[in-house]
Protein backbone atom coordinates (compact mmCIF):
# COMPACT_ATOMS: atom_id res chain seq x y z
CA UNK A 1 0.00 0.00 0.00
CA UNK A 2 1.35 3.36 -0.98
CA UNK A 3 1.44 6.35 1.36
CA UNK A 4 -0.08 9.55 0.06
CA UNK A 5 2.61 12.28 -0.30
CA UNK A 6 0.25 14.52 1.62
CA UNK A 7 1.01 12.46 4.74
CA UNK A 8 4.72 13.21 4.32
CA UNK A 9 4.03 16.92 4.08
CA UNK A 10 1.73 16.74 7.06
CA UNK A 11 4.53 15.02 9.03
CA UNK A 12 6.97 17.77 8.07
CA UNK A 13 4.38 20.35 9.10
CA UNK A 14 3.64 18.82 12.52
CA UNK A 15 7.32 18.26 13.32
CA UNK A 16 8.12 21.83 12.27
CA UNK A 17 5.49 23.13 14.67
CA UNK A 18 7.29 21.31 17.46
CA UNK A 19 10.67 22.65 16.33
CA UNK A 20 9.15 26.13 16.22
CA UNK A 21 7.72 25.67 19.69
CA UNK A 22 11.06 24.78 21.28
CA UNK A 23 13.16 27.20 19.25
CA UNK A 24 10.89 30.16 19.99
CA UNK A 25 10.76 29.46 23.73
CA UNK A 26 14.54 29.73 23.76
CA UNK A 27 14.45 33.20 22.19
CA UNK A 28 15.40 35.77 24.80
CA UNK A 29 12.48 38.15 25.56
CA UNK A 30 14.61 41.19 24.78
CA UNK A 31 14.77 40.02 21.15
CA UNK A 32 11.03 39.50 20.70
CA UNK A 33 10.69 42.48 18.36
CA UNK A 34 13.47 41.27 16.02
CA UNK A 35 11.85 37.82 16.25
CA UNK A 36 8.64 39.25 14.84
CA UNK A 37 10.37 41.12 12.04
CA UNK A 38 12.48 38.13 11.03
CA UNK A 39 9.55 35.68 11.09
CA UNK A 40 7.76 38.19 8.94
CA UNK A 41 10.66 38.20 6.50
CA UNK A 42 10.94 34.42 6.27
CA UNK A 43 7.20 33.89 5.86
CA UNK A 44 7.60 35.88 2.66
CA UNK A 45 9.20 32.76 1.20
CA UNK A 46 5.68 32.56 -0.20
CA UNK A 47 7.37 34.41 -3.06
CA UNK A 48 8.29 31.01 -4.53
CA UNK A 49 4.60 30.49 -5.26
CA UNK A 50 4.41 33.94 -6.78
CA UNK A 51 7.41 33.24 -9.04
CA UNK A 52 5.90 29.98 -10.28
CA UNK A 53 2.62 31.77 -10.99
CA UNK A 54 4.31 34.68 -12.75
CA UNK A 55 6.48 32.54 -15.02
CA UNK A 56 3.68 30.11 -15.86
CA UNK A 57 2.19 32.28 -18.60
CA UNK A 58 3.03 31.63 -22.24
CA UNK A 59 5.84 33.64 -23.80
CA UNK A 60 3.36 35.45 -26.07
CA UNK A 61 0.95 36.53 -23.38
CA UNK A 62 3.01 36.91 -20.23
CA UNK A 63 0.35 39.06 -18.63
CA UNK A 64 -2.62 36.74 -18.40
CA UNK A 65 -4.68 37.15 -15.24
CA UNK A 66 -2.98 34.37 -13.25
CA UNK A 67 0.50 35.77 -13.90
CA UNK A 68 -0.57 39.30 -13.02
CA UNK A 69 -1.54 38.10 -9.58
CA UNK A 70 1.83 36.37 -9.45
CA UNK A 71 3.70 39.57 -10.29
CA UNK A 72 1.69 41.53 -7.73
CA UNK A 73 2.51 38.93 -5.09
CA UNK A 74 6.19 39.17 -6.07
CA UNK A 75 6.17 42.92 -5.37
CA UNK A 76 4.46 42.47 -1.99
CA UNK A 77 6.69 39.61 -0.90
CA UNK A 78 9.83 41.43 -2.09
CA UNK A 79 8.94 44.48 0.03
CA UNK A 80 8.68 42.15 2.99
CA UNK A 81 11.82 40.16 2.32
CA UNK A 82 14.10 43.16 1.89
CA UNK A 83 12.32 45.29 4.47
CA UNK A 84 12.06 42.48 7.03
CA UNK A 85 15.66 41.28 6.89
CA UNK A 86 17.15 44.77 6.70
CA UNK A 87 15.13 46.19 9.57
CA UNK A 88 16.03 43.11 11.64
CA UNK A 89 19.68 43.65 10.79
CA UNK A 90 19.36 47.30 11.81
CA UNK A 91 17.78 46.40 15.13
CA UNK A 92 20.21 43.62 15.97
CA UNK A 93 23.17 45.90 15.25
CA UNK A 94 21.97 48.11 18.12
CA UNK A 95 22.13 45.44 20.81
CA UNK A 96 25.43 45.98 22.54
CA UNK A 97 27.02 44.61 25.66
CA UNK A 98 28.37 46.79 28.43
CA UNK A 99 31.84 48.09 27.66
CA UNK A 100 34.53 46.62 29.89
CA UNK A 101 36.10 49.95 30.86
CA UNK A 102 32.90 51.23 32.50
Amino acid sequence: MEIDPFIFRLSIFILSIFIGYYVVWSVTPSLHTPLMSVTNAISSVIIVGAIIAALAGDAEKIFDTASIYGYLAIILAAINIFGGFLVTQRMLAMYKKKKKDK
Binding site: F13, H32, I42, S43, V45, I52, G83, L92
Partner: protein, 464 residues
Protein backbone atom coordinates in the same frame (compact mmCIF):
# COMPACT_ATOMS: atom_id res chain seq x y z
CA UNK B 1 16.56 20.84 -12.30
CA UNK B 2 14.93 17.64 -11.11
CA UNK B 3 12.02 17.81 -8.70
CA UNK B 4 14.01 15.88 -6.10
CA UNK B 5 16.98 18.22 -6.21
CA UNK B 6 14.60 21.16 -5.99
CA UNK B 7 12.95 19.65 -2.92
CA UNK B 8 16.35 19.21 -1.27
CA UNK B 9 17.19 22.87 -1.84
CA UNK B 10 13.85 23.87 -0.31
CA UNK B 11 14.65 21.65 2.66
CA UNK B 12 18.00 23.43 3.06
CA UNK B 13 16.22 26.81 3.08
CA UNK B 14 13.82 25.48 5.70
CA UNK B 15 16.70 24.38 7.92
CA UNK B 16 18.42 27.75 7.48
CA UNK B 17 15.21 29.46 8.61
CA UNK B 18 15.16 27.30 11.75
CA UNK B 19 18.77 28.37 12.41
CA UNK B 20 17.76 32.00 11.88
CA UNK B 21 15.27 31.76 14.73
CA UNK B 22 17.67 29.73 16.83
CA UNK B 23 20.21 32.55 16.56
CA UNK B 24 17.85 34.86 18.40
CA UNK B 25 18.41 33.00 21.66
CA UNK B 26 21.13 35.55 22.44
CA UNK B 27 22.10 38.92 21.00
CA UNK B 28 25.60 37.64 20.16
CA UNK B 29 24.39 34.92 17.81
CA UNK B 30 21.43 36.86 16.45
CA UNK B 31 23.21 38.69 13.66
CA UNK B 32 24.59 35.43 12.33
CA UNK B 33 21.07 33.99 12.55
CA UNK B 34 19.72 36.80 10.39
CA UNK B 35 22.41 36.00 7.82
CA UNK B 36 21.26 32.36 7.75
CA UNK B 37 17.75 33.61 7.08
CA UNK B 38 18.93 35.75 4.16
CA UNK B 39 20.91 32.84 2.66
CA UNK B 40 17.89 30.55 3.03
CA UNK B 41 15.71 33.06 1.23
CA UNK B 42 18.26 33.56 -1.55
CA UNK B 43 18.46 29.80 -2.12
CA UNK B 44 14.67 29.44 -2.23
CA UNK B 45 14.24 32.29 -4.72
CA UNK B 46 17.26 31.25 -6.80
CA UNK B 47 16.28 27.61 -7.30
CA UNK B 48 12.65 28.51 -8.02
CA UNK B 49 13.69 30.83 -10.83
CA UNK B 50 16.19 28.28 -12.20
CA UNK B 51 13.64 25.47 -12.12
CA UNK B 52 11.12 27.53 -14.07
CA UNK B 53 13.71 27.59 -16.83
CA UNK B 54 11.90 30.37 -18.63
CA UNK B 55 14.41 33.12 -19.29
CA UNK B 56 12.29 35.05 -21.77
CA UNK B 57 10.45 38.32 -21.26
CA UNK B 58 8.63 37.04 -18.19
CA UNK B 59 11.95 36.59 -16.41
CA UNK B 60 12.94 40.21 -17.01
CA UNK B 61 9.63 41.40 -15.61
CA UNK B 62 10.14 39.12 -12.65
CA UNK B 63 13.54 40.64 -11.87
CA UNK B 64 12.13 44.11 -12.34
CA UNK B 65 9.25 43.55 -9.91
CA UNK B 66 11.54 41.81 -7.43
CA UNK B 67 13.93 44.76 -7.39
CA UNK B 68 11.08 47.25 -7.41
CA UNK B 69 9.49 45.70 -4.29
CA UNK B 70 12.92 45.15 -2.78
CA UNK B 71 13.91 48.79 -3.06
CA UNK B 72 10.64 49.91 -1.47
CA UNK B 73 11.30 47.47 1.37
CA UNK B 74 14.91 48.57 1.79
CA UNK B 75 13.88 52.22 1.77
CA UNK B 76 11.31 51.62 4.51
CA UNK B 77 13.74 49.53 6.56
CA UNK B 78 16.34 52.32 6.63
CA UNK B 79 13.94 55.20 7.14
CA UNK B 80 11.60 53.84 9.79
CA UNK B 81 12.15 55.23 13.31
CA UNK B 82 12.43 52.55 16.00
CA UNK B 83 9.40 53.95 17.83
CA UNK B 84 7.27 53.09 14.79
CA UNK B 85 8.27 49.41 14.82
CA UNK B 86 4.83 48.08 15.89
CA UNK B 87 3.11 49.79 12.94
CA UNK B 88 5.82 48.57 10.59
CA UNK B 89 5.43 44.97 11.68
CA UNK B 90 1.64 45.21 11.38
CA UNK B 91 2.04 46.67 7.89
CA UNK B 92 4.44 43.91 6.86
CA UNK B 93 2.01 41.27 8.13
CA UNK B 94 -0.69 42.69 5.91
CA UNK B 95 1.59 42.29 2.89
CA UNK B 96 2.30 38.63 3.66
CA UNK B 97 -1.46 38.08 3.97
CA UNK B 98 -2.24 39.75 0.67
CA UNK B 99 0.61 37.93 -1.10
CA UNK B 100 -0.87 34.64 0.14
CA UNK B 101 -4.26 35.64 -1.26
CA UNK B 102 -2.73 36.53 -4.64
CA UNK B 103 -0.77 33.28 -4.86
CA UNK B 104 -3.90 31.30 -4.00
CA UNK B 105 -5.84 33.19 -6.68
CA UNK B 106 -3.25 32.50 -9.35
CA UNK B 107 -3.13 28.83 -8.34
CA UNK B 108 -6.91 28.71 -8.67
CA UNK B 109 -6.90 30.43 -12.06
CA UNK B 110 -3.98 28.49 -13.49
CA UNK B 111 -3.84 25.12 -11.67
CA UNK B 112 -1.88 23.50 -14.52
CA UNK B 113 1.18 25.61 -13.70
CA UNK B 114 1.15 24.27 -10.14
CA UNK B 115 0.35 20.71 -11.17
CA UNK B 116 -2.97 20.76 -9.34
CA UNK B 117 -5.30 19.67 -12.12
CA UNK B 118 -7.13 21.73 -14.74
CA UNK B 119 -9.47 24.71 -14.25
CA UNK B 120 -12.85 23.34 -13.20
CA UNK B 121 -11.26 20.07 -12.16
CA UNK B 122 -8.82 20.92 -9.38
CA UNK B 123 -7.90 18.22 -6.86
CA UNK B 124 -10.17 18.40 -3.80
CA UNK B 125 -7.24 18.44 -1.34
CA UNK B 126 -5.64 21.32 -3.25
CA UNK B 127 -8.91 23.23 -3.26
CA UNK B 128 -9.23 22.92 0.50
CA UNK B 129 -5.60 23.94 1.01
CA UNK B 130 -5.78 26.94 -1.28
CA UNK B 131 -9.11 28.09 0.19
CA UNK B 132 -7.67 27.90 3.68
CA UNK B 133 -4.49 29.70 2.59
CA UNK B 134 -6.49 32.41 0.82
CA UNK B 135 -8.93 32.76 3.70
CA UNK B 136 -6.31 33.02 6.46
CA UNK B 137 -4.26 35.31 4.23
CA UNK B 138 -7.26 37.59 3.68
CA UNK B 139 -8.03 37.71 7.42
CA UNK B 140 -4.37 38.53 8.09
CA UNK B 141 -4.47 41.27 5.47
CA UNK B 142 -7.48 43.28 6.67
CA UNK B 143 -6.79 42.49 10.35
CA UNK B 144 -3.27 43.87 10.02
CA UNK B 145 -4.53 46.94 8.20
CA UNK B 146 -6.87 47.70 11.11
CA UNK B 147 -4.06 47.04 13.61
CA UNK B 148 -1.80 49.34 11.57
CA UNK B 149 -4.40 52.12 11.54
CA UNK B 150 -4.94 51.80 15.29
CA UNK B 151 -1.21 51.80 16.08
CA UNK B 152 -0.58 54.71 13.76
CA UNK B 153 -3.35 56.64 15.51
CA UNK B 154 -5.32 57.12 12.28
CA UNK B 155 -8.09 55.05 13.84
CA UNK B 156 -9.10 55.41 17.48
CA UNK B 157 -7.50 52.82 19.74
CA UNK B 158 -10.69 52.33 21.70
CA UNK B 159 -12.62 49.11 21.12
CA UNK B 160 -15.46 49.26 18.60
CA UNK B 161 -18.23 46.92 19.69
CA UNK B 162 -21.85 46.42 18.69
CA UNK B 163 -24.67 44.11 19.68
CA UNK B 164 -24.45 40.63 18.25
CA UNK B 165 -20.84 41.07 17.13
CA UNK B 166 -19.71 37.65 18.27
CA UNK B 167 -22.74 35.97 16.70
CA UNK B 168 -22.04 37.74 13.43
CA UNK B 169 -18.44 36.51 13.49
CA UNK B 170 -19.59 33.00 14.30
CA UNK B 171 -22.16 33.08 11.50
CA UNK B 172 -19.58 34.35 9.00
CA UNK B 173 -17.19 31.61 10.10
CA UNK B 174 -19.85 28.97 9.47
CA UNK B 175 -20.71 30.47 6.10
CA UNK B 176 -17.02 30.26 5.24
CA UNK B 177 -16.91 26.54 6.04
CA UNK B 178 -20.05 25.99 4.00
CA UNK B 179 -18.60 27.86 1.03
CA UNK B 180 -15.43 25.76 1.09
CA UNK B 181 -17.55 22.60 1.06
CA UNK B 182 -19.59 23.90 -1.90
CA UNK B 183 -16.45 24.99 -3.73
CA UNK B 184 -15.04 21.48 -3.44
CA UNK B 185 -18.29 19.95 -4.70
CA UNK B 186 -19.00 22.28 -7.59
CA UNK B 187 -15.65 23.94 -8.45
CA UNK B 188 -17.61 27.13 -9.23
CA UNK B 189 -15.32 30.15 -9.01
CA UNK B 190 -17.97 32.44 -7.47
CA UNK B 191 -17.64 30.46 -4.25
CA UNK B 192 -13.88 31.02 -4.27
CA UNK B 193 -14.25 34.80 -4.65
CA UNK B 194 -16.93 34.90 -1.97
CA UNK B 195 -14.64 33.05 0.43
CA UNK B 196 -12.01 35.75 -0.05
CA UNK B 197 -14.48 38.63 0.37
CA UNK B 198 -15.98 37.16 3.55
CA UNK B 199 -12.50 36.55 4.96
CA UNK B 200 -11.60 40.19 4.35
CA UNK B 201 -14.70 41.13 6.33
CA UNK B 202 -13.88 38.73 9.18
CA UNK B 203 -10.38 40.22 9.46
CA UNK B 204 -11.88 43.67 10.07
CA UNK B 205 -14.52 42.41 12.50
CA UNK B 206 -11.96 40.42 14.51
CA UNK B 207 -9.67 43.34 15.22
CA UNK B 208 -11.99 46.35 15.68
CA UNK B 209 -13.28 45.26 19.14
CA UNK B 210 -9.74 44.94 20.52
CA UNK B 211 -8.44 47.95 22.45
CA UNK B 212 -5.13 49.80 22.15
CA UNK B 213 -3.52 48.23 25.21
CA UNK B 214 -4.12 44.74 23.82
CA UNK B 215 -2.13 45.50 20.67
CA UNK B 216 0.83 43.32 21.72
CA UNK B 217 -1.51 40.31 21.61
CA UNK B 218 -3.05 41.38 18.30
CA UNK B 219 0.31 41.81 16.58
CA UNK B 220 1.53 38.44 17.84
CA UNK B 221 -1.71 36.81 16.76
CA UNK B 222 -1.52 38.27 13.26
CA UNK B 223 2.10 37.12 13.11
CA UNK B 224 0.83 33.64 13.80
CA UNK B 225 -1.95 33.91 11.16
CA UNK B 226 0.51 35.00 8.49
CA UNK B 227 2.45 31.81 9.26
CA UNK B 228 -0.60 29.55 8.96
CA UNK B 229 -1.52 31.26 5.68
CA UNK B 230 1.97 30.54 4.34
CA UNK B 231 1.69 26.93 5.48
CA UNK B 232 -1.69 26.58 3.71
CA UNK B 233 -0.13 27.82 0.48
CA UNK B 234 2.86 25.55 1.14
CA UNK B 235 0.56 22.52 1.13
CA UNK B 236 -1.05 23.70 -2.11
CA UNK B 237 2.31 24.15 -3.82
CA UNK B 238 3.73 21.01 -2.18
CA UNK B 239 6.68 23.12 -1.09
CA UNK B 240 8.72 22.04 1.94
CA UNK B 241 10.34 25.44 2.57
CA UNK B 242 6.91 27.08 2.81
CA UNK B 243 5.47 24.36 5.03
CA UNK B 244 8.42 24.49 7.45
CA UNK B 245 8.41 28.29 7.51
CA UNK B 246 4.66 28.49 7.95
CA UNK B 247 4.81 26.12 10.90
CA UNK B 248 7.71 28.03 12.48
CA UNK B 249 6.08 31.42 12.11
CA UNK B 250 2.69 30.13 13.14
CA UNK B 251 3.97 28.62 16.36
CA UNK B 252 6.22 31.61 17.02
CA UNK B 253 3.28 34.00 16.85
CA UNK B 254 1.15 31.70 18.99
CA UNK B 255 3.82 31.54 21.70
CA UNK B 256 4.25 35.31 21.69
CA UNK B 257 0.47 35.73 22.03
CA UNK B 258 0.53 33.34 24.97
CA UNK B 259 3.40 35.24 26.66
CA UNK B 260 1.58 38.55 26.16
CA UNK B 261 -1.71 37.20 27.53
CA UNK B 262 0.11 35.79 30.55
CA UNK B 263 1.76 39.18 31.05
CA UNK B 264 -1.72 40.63 31.45
CA UNK B 265 -3.22 37.61 33.23
CA UNK B 266 -5.95 37.35 30.63
CA UNK B 267 -7.06 34.45 28.56
CA UNK B 268 -6.54 34.58 24.83
CA UNK B 269 -10.29 34.42 24.19
CA UNK B 270 -10.92 37.23 26.62
CA UNK B 271 -8.62 39.47 24.59
CA UNK B 272 -10.02 38.37 21.24
CA UNK B 273 -13.63 38.81 22.27
CA UNK B 274 -13.26 42.45 23.19
CA UNK B 275 -11.42 45.10 25.14
CA UNK B 276 -11.46 46.31 28.72
CA UNK B 277 -13.76 49.10 27.67
CA UNK B 278 -16.96 47.25 28.50
CA UNK B 279 -16.09 46.26 32.07
CA UNK B 280 -14.47 49.30 33.62
CA UNK B 281 -17.51 51.58 33.99
CA UNK B 282 -17.99 51.08 37.69
CA UNK B 283 -14.33 51.45 38.62
CA UNK B 284 -14.22 54.76 36.80
CA UNK B 285 -17.04 56.23 38.87
CA UNK B 286 -15.60 55.32 42.26
CA UNK B 287 -12.31 57.08 41.72
CA UNK B 288 -13.71 60.54 41.10
CA UNK B 289 -12.83 62.00 44.54
CA UNK B 290 -9.69 64.10 44.68
CA UNK B 291 -6.88 62.63 46.69
CA UNK B 292 -3.75 64.57 47.59
CA UNK B 293 -0.62 63.87 45.60
CA UNK B 294 2.93 65.01 46.16
CA UNK B 295 3.98 67.10 43.24
CA UNK B 296 7.70 67.42 42.54
CA UNK B 297 9.97 69.09 40.02
CA UNK B 298 13.15 68.16 38.19
CA UNK B 299 15.31 69.58 40.98
CA UNK B 300 13.74 67.30 43.62
CA UNK B 301 14.03 64.30 41.35
CA UNK B 302 17.68 65.00 40.58
CA UNK B 303 18.43 65.40 44.29
CA UNK B 304 16.71 62.13 45.19
CA UNK B 305 18.43 60.11 42.50
CA UNK B 306 21.87 61.65 42.96
CA UNK B 307 21.86 60.65 46.62
CA UNK B 308 20.52 57.16 45.98
CA UNK B 309 22.76 54.16 45.82
CA UNK B 310 20.56 52.25 43.41
CA UNK B 311 17.92 53.34 40.89
CA UNK B 312 15.64 51.16 38.78
CA UNK B 313 14.16 52.64 35.61
CA UNK B 314 10.71 51.41 34.56
CA UNK B 315 9.98 52.46 30.97
CA UNK B 316 6.57 52.20 29.30
CA UNK B 317 4.73 53.22 26.18
CA UNK B 318 4.86 56.89 27.24
CA UNK B 319 8.64 56.81 26.82
CA UNK B 320 8.19 55.63 23.23
CA UNK B 321 5.62 58.33 22.48
CA UNK B 322 7.85 61.08 23.90
CA UNK B 323 10.96 59.59 22.19
CA UNK B 324 12.66 59.94 25.57
CA UNK B 325 15.00 56.94 25.32
CA UNK B 326 18.10 58.97 24.37
CA UNK B 327 17.56 61.56 27.09
CA UNK B 328 16.99 58.72 29.53
CA UNK B 329 20.31 57.12 28.65
CA UNK B 330 22.08 60.46 29.17
CA UNK B 331 20.45 60.82 32.57
CA UNK B 332 21.60 57.33 33.51
CA UNK B 333 25.14 58.11 32.36
CA UNK B 334 25.16 61.19 34.59
CA UNK B 335 23.87 59.16 37.52
CA UNK B 336 26.51 56.51 36.99
CA UNK B 337 29.19 59.19 37.15
CA UNK B 338 27.85 59.95 40.61
CA UNK B 339 28.33 56.32 41.56
CA UNK B 340 24.66 55.34 41.41
CA UNK B 341 23.87 51.79 40.34
CA UNK B 342 21.21 51.91 37.61
CA UNK B 343 19.25 49.06 36.03
CA UNK B 344 16.18 48.86 33.81
CA UNK B 345 13.07 46.79 34.51
CA UNK B 346 10.83 45.76 31.61
CA UNK B 347 7.33 44.39 31.94
CA UNK B 348 6.35 41.79 29.30
CA UNK B 349 3.54 43.97 27.93
CA UNK B 350 5.27 47.35 28.18
CA UNK B 351 4.82 49.15 24.87
CA UNK B 352 2.78 48.09 21.89
CA UNK B 353 4.53 44.90 20.83
CA UNK B 354 6.66 42.18 22.42
CA UNK B 355 10.16 43.46 23.16
CA UNK B 356 9.29 47.02 22.12
CA UNK B 357 11.06 48.68 25.08
CA UNK B 358 14.20 46.57 24.64
CA UNK B 359 14.63 47.75 21.07
CA UNK B 360 14.19 51.41 22.04
CA UNK B 361 16.74 51.11 24.85
CA UNK B 362 19.13 49.31 22.52
CA UNK B 363 18.69 52.16 20.04
CA UNK B 364 19.75 54.59 22.77
CA UNK B 365 22.90 52.51 23.32
CA UNK B 366 21.80 51.02 26.62
CA UNK B 367 23.82 47.80 27.04
CA UNK B 368 21.42 44.84 27.02
CA UNK B 369 22.97 43.35 30.16
CA UNK B 370 21.62 46.29 32.19
CA UNK B 371 18.07 45.55 31.06
CA UNK B 372 16.09 42.96 33.02
CA UNK B 373 12.79 41.14 32.63
CA UNK B 374 10.12 41.17 35.32
CA UNK B 375 11.04 37.86 37.02
CA UNK B 376 14.73 38.71 37.04
CA UNK B 377 14.44 42.06 38.73
CA UNK B 378 11.23 42.14 40.74
CA UNK B 379 12.92 41.20 44.04
CA UNK B 380 15.40 44.05 43.65
CA UNK B 381 12.78 46.75 44.13
CA UNK B 382 12.75 46.09 47.89
CA UNK B 383 16.43 47.09 48.10
CA UNK B 384 16.27 49.95 45.68
CA UNK B 385 16.26 53.61 46.70
CA UNK B 386 14.46 55.16 43.77
CA UNK B 387 12.21 53.70 41.08
CA UNK B 388 11.97 56.03 38.08
CA UNK B 389 8.75 55.20 36.25
CA UNK B 390 8.75 56.83 32.84
CA UNK B 391 5.64 56.43 30.72
CA UNK B 392 4.43 53.25 32.43
CA UNK B 393 1.33 53.02 34.59
CA UNK B 394 -0.88 49.91 34.71
CA UNK B 395 2.10 47.57 34.92
CA UNK B 396 3.03 49.11 38.30
CA UNK B 397 -0.47 49.30 39.77
CA UNK B 398 -0.57 47.43 43.12
CA UNK B 399 -4.34 47.03 42.75
CA UNK B 400 -3.55 44.03 40.54
CA UNK B 401 -2.51 42.20 43.70
CA UNK B 402 -5.04 43.53 46.20
CA UNK B 403 -8.40 44.10 44.56
CA UNK B 404 -10.17 41.08 43.04
CA UNK B 405 -12.77 43.48 41.55
CA UNK B 406 -10.19 45.25 39.44
CA UNK B 407 -10.04 44.41 35.73
CA UNK B 408 -6.29 43.93 36.00
CA UNK B 409 -6.46 41.73 39.11
CA UNK B 410 -3.92 38.91 38.92
CA UNK B 411 -1.75 40.61 36.31
CA UNK B 412 1.91 40.31 37.28
CA UNK B 413 3.21 43.78 38.10
CA UNK B 414 6.57 45.34 38.75
CA UNK B 415 6.81 45.85 42.54
CA UNK B 416 7.69 49.50 42.23
CA UNK B 417 5.81 50.23 45.49
CA UNK B 418 8.47 48.38 47.49
CA UNK B 419 11.27 50.77 46.63
CA UNK B 420 12.04 53.57 49.12
CA UNK B 421 10.73 56.26 46.84
CA UNK B 422 8.97 56.30 43.51
CA UNK B 423 9.27 58.99 40.85
CA UNK B 424 6.40 58.98 38.37
CA UNK B 425 6.96 60.90 35.15
CA UNK B 426 3.51 61.42 33.69
CA UNK B 427 1.64 64.13 31.89
CA UNK B 428 -1.39 64.02 34.17
CA UNK B 429 -3.13 61.89 36.77
CA UNK B 430 -5.24 60.28 34.07
CA UNK B 431 -5.62 56.52 34.33
CA UNK B 432 -3.76 54.19 31.98
CA UNK B 433 -5.22 52.15 29.15
CA UNK B 434 -7.01 49.82 31.54
CA UNK B 435 -9.03 52.87 32.62
CA UNK B 436 -8.30 52.41 36.31
CA UNK B 437 -6.77 54.69 38.88
CA UNK B 438 -3.28 53.92 40.16
CA UNK B 439 -3.17 53.89 43.95
CA UNK B 440 0.57 54.43 43.80
CA UNK B 441 0.11 58.09 42.80
CA UNK B 442 -1.21 58.95 46.27
CA UNK B 443 1.38 57.19 48.42
CA UNK B 444 3.66 59.14 50.74
CA UNK B 445 6.82 57.92 49.11
CA UNK B 446 5.65 58.80 45.60
CA UNK B 447 6.65 62.01 43.91
CA UNK B 448 4.70 62.89 40.79
CA UNK B 449 6.61 64.69 38.05
CA UNK B 450 3.99 66.15 35.75
CA UNK B 451 5.64 66.76 32.39
CA UNK B 452 6.45 65.29 29.04
CA UNK B 453 8.78 62.32 29.62
CA UNK B 454 11.56 63.67 27.42
CA UNK B 455 11.35 67.24 28.73
CA UNK B 456 11.41 66.12 32.37
CA UNK B 457 14.34 63.78 31.85
CA UNK B 458 16.30 66.55 30.14
CA UNK B 459 15.52 68.92 33.02
CA UNK B 460 16.74 66.36 35.52
CA UNK B 461 20.02 66.03 33.62
CA UNK B 462 20.53 69.79 33.96
CA UNK B 463 20.06 69.52 37.71
CA UNK B 464 22.40 66.59 38.22
Amino acid sequence: MSANLLAIFYLISGVLFILALRGLSSPETSRQGNLYGIIGMAIAIGVTILSAGNFSTGFIFLLFFLLFGGSIGAFIAFKIPMTAMPELVAGFHSLVGLAAVFVAISAFLNPIAFNLGTPGDIKIASLIEMSLGASIGAITFTGSIIAFLKLRGIMSGSPITFVGQHYLNLALGLVLVGLIVYLCRTQIDTFFWTIIVISFLIGVLLIIPIGGADMPVVISMLNSYSGWAAAGIGFTLENTALIITGALVGSSGAILSYIMCKGMNRSFFNVILGGWGATDDKTKNTSKEKKPVKNGNADDAAFLMKNASSVIIVPGYGMAVAQAQHALREMVDALKKNGVKVTYAIHPVAGRMPGHMNVLLAEANVPYDEVFELEEINNDFANCDVAYVIGANDVTNPVAKTDPQSPIYGMPILDVEKSKSVLFVKRSLSPGYAGIDNDLFYRDNTLMLFADAKKMTEDIIKNL
